[in-house]
Symmetry: C2
């Protein structure tokens, strides 16, 4: 096998032949590990929001039916991948066994969160999810999961509440890529569309630390107030990101010129043209929203004769977890925004 | 109006209010030009392949019906934008009038091809398309079209047949972006997936000129033969781009290591994971295929823990037309491949 395709779990794919674990119909969930694998004792699953919403809607809020279907999916597929949305989530657990050739640097007893999706992680549930009422994305669970050589897991820090650390790790790709891109410009301006959200506030903090003058763009006054109070951005602008002229004008007015880097963190369709139009010639747009349309972005830039670099937001960069946790620890405003969101979700 | 939103045709949008010309339902096609506009006397439309296929299929190959619908679309919308596919095409014509503030550098009498889509170009047809049988994407036509301040048009060169120049200009974004990205690496390796096609062969030529060692990947032996004979790539590899392991292994075997830059030029869905897996850590994937799925790329890179930069191929870069025409003139192998494809299309 060529080195490039090792450590990605190909030996765990049962069907179809030759598929990668994420695309596979069924994975081998057996507890015996290969030399480069790690086994984790599962404590909690964190279902992807889109996946949980689909299940809850399908079963009309019947928690027992939702639980039954999650158990059926995991038993049938050897992983928790919603067959309709295709999405998974993440999990928290404790390292149980480490193969002698694992490159992940984990030790038995480490409390970890997986940063690769549940949709490609071999998983077996052993407690029938008895501790879960099927009414929340947070799923207490017992069982085991397998990490591959090239999987990603973060050791949960002792100094932060578990939920807070998980919420930060869930979006840690955004500040890391923002940091890398912003450092490529000299005294840049940065616009973060959806700046009051989790990935948005992290991106604003990362951009400012990387030397940028920033504007956070939000759709409603309530979010603008939150963001102003937090003091995370040099300016706060109100605009509907689906209205290209409104978005571009708001960014230009707030910054005094277009943005060198525009970061799209808002999960609504139709923000591509506004983001392109708000960006200076030679600038970069980073699309983190899963609602981004590839063709709308490609054709939009061509139609506007816009010489902008357009990046598909990659959730992985070396050091991304450390950078995000460091931002949380050192920027009180970020921590406050996250705690407020977590409280609102719990309420 | 803020400078950032000038020259993009907002004053030509009749409905809905605030839309960009591409998203607009209807444009103002009147011949009177604003100070930064240019009017072109239309000689020929070149319908987008997807658009023409949709129309031909809908009307069961009835050319008269296809022609009638194209006339209806242009009359109703003030532009040739297929309401089903959303796509347009390009046009060839002669510059008729140049506004005193037009930045495009065109002169009355210039024979030009538009490099922005027909889907955002104000257009009026005056000859009922009498010279067209409705059975081909090439549409002889009379009428006028309007170029905005920030539109893009290339003066057609005298030394090349019109059809050949048009075919090259249609894909000129690919070699330009490939050139820019490849020059950011030191002695790089480049894989072009779909290397025997128009944008693929151009990208191979651009990559080699920019200093890369290249492999062209094609799905069938017939195309491999063509590409080997042309000598455009340092190596030729056979692989199904939808099979991630096969693609990554073929690239790694041909180059001796993964590709620093992978260029996806093949218009089939499901090539995202293979392209990511074929690319070295720190490398770049450029997606030019409109069949690219944003979420498949984003989730794929994360699932593979791949530190690769993923670019949405932008059809516009300053100087893109000149670079592509120069490649055609100076690389006999590129010209031969293009002429062969044009002959095949002509049947």
């Amino acid at each position: 096998m060529s080195p490039q395709v090792q450590g990605i779990g190909l030996d765990r794919v049962l069907e179809p032949d030759g598929a990668l674990p994420q695309a596979a119909q069924r994975l081998d969930d057996s507890p015996e590990i290969a030399p480069d694998e790690v086994r984790v004792a599962v404590h909690r699953l964190n279902l992807d929001a889109a996946s949980f919403r689909q299940l809850a809607t399908k079963h009309g809020g019947d928690g027992a039916a939702v639980r039954r279907e999650v158990l059926e999916i995991v038993a049938a597929r050897g992983k928790m991948q919603n067959p309709v949305t295709g999405s998974g989530g993440m999990l928290v657990g404790v390292v149980d066994e480490v193969g002698p050739e694992s490159p992940l640097g984990l030790a038995v007893g480490d409390r970890v969160a997986t940063l690769v999706s549940l949709s490609l992680t071999p998983l077996r549930i052993t407690d029938g999810l008895a501790g879960w009422d099927g009414r929340s994305e947070q799923v207490p669970a017992a069982g085991h999961a397998i990490l591959f050589g090239r999987s990603i897991a973060a050791v949960l820090p002792d100094d932060l509440p578990g939920e807070l650390a998980m919420a930060v790790l869930d979006v840690c790709g955004a500040p890391a890529l923002t940091d890398r891109v912003v450092r490529g410009y000299d005294a840049p301006t940065v616009a973060v569309v959806g700046g009051a959200g989790k990935s948005g506030s992290m991106s604003l903090a990362a951009a400012r630390r990387a030397g940028a003058r920033t504007v956070g763009v939000v759709p409603v006054e309530a979010e603008a107030g939150l963001l102003r109070e937090a003091g995370l951005a040099d300016a706060v602008a109100l605009a509907d990101a689906r209205d290209p002229v409104a978005l571009a004008s708001a960014v230009e007015q707030a910054l005094g010129r277009p943005a060198d880097v525009t970061v799209v963190c808002v999960d609504v369709p139709g923000c591509e043209h506004g983001a392109i139009l708000a960006t200076a010639e030679g600038g970069t747009v980073i699309f983190f929203s899963m609602a981004t349309s590839f063709s709308a972005a490609a054709l939009g830039a061509e139609g506007l004769a816009a010489d902008v670099t357009m990046l598909i937001g990659n959730g992985y960069l070396p050091g991304h977890a450390e950078l995000a946790l460091d931002l949380l620890r050192t920027e009180p405003a970020v921590r406050k925004l996250f705690e407020r969101r977590l409280a609102a979700e719990a309420g």
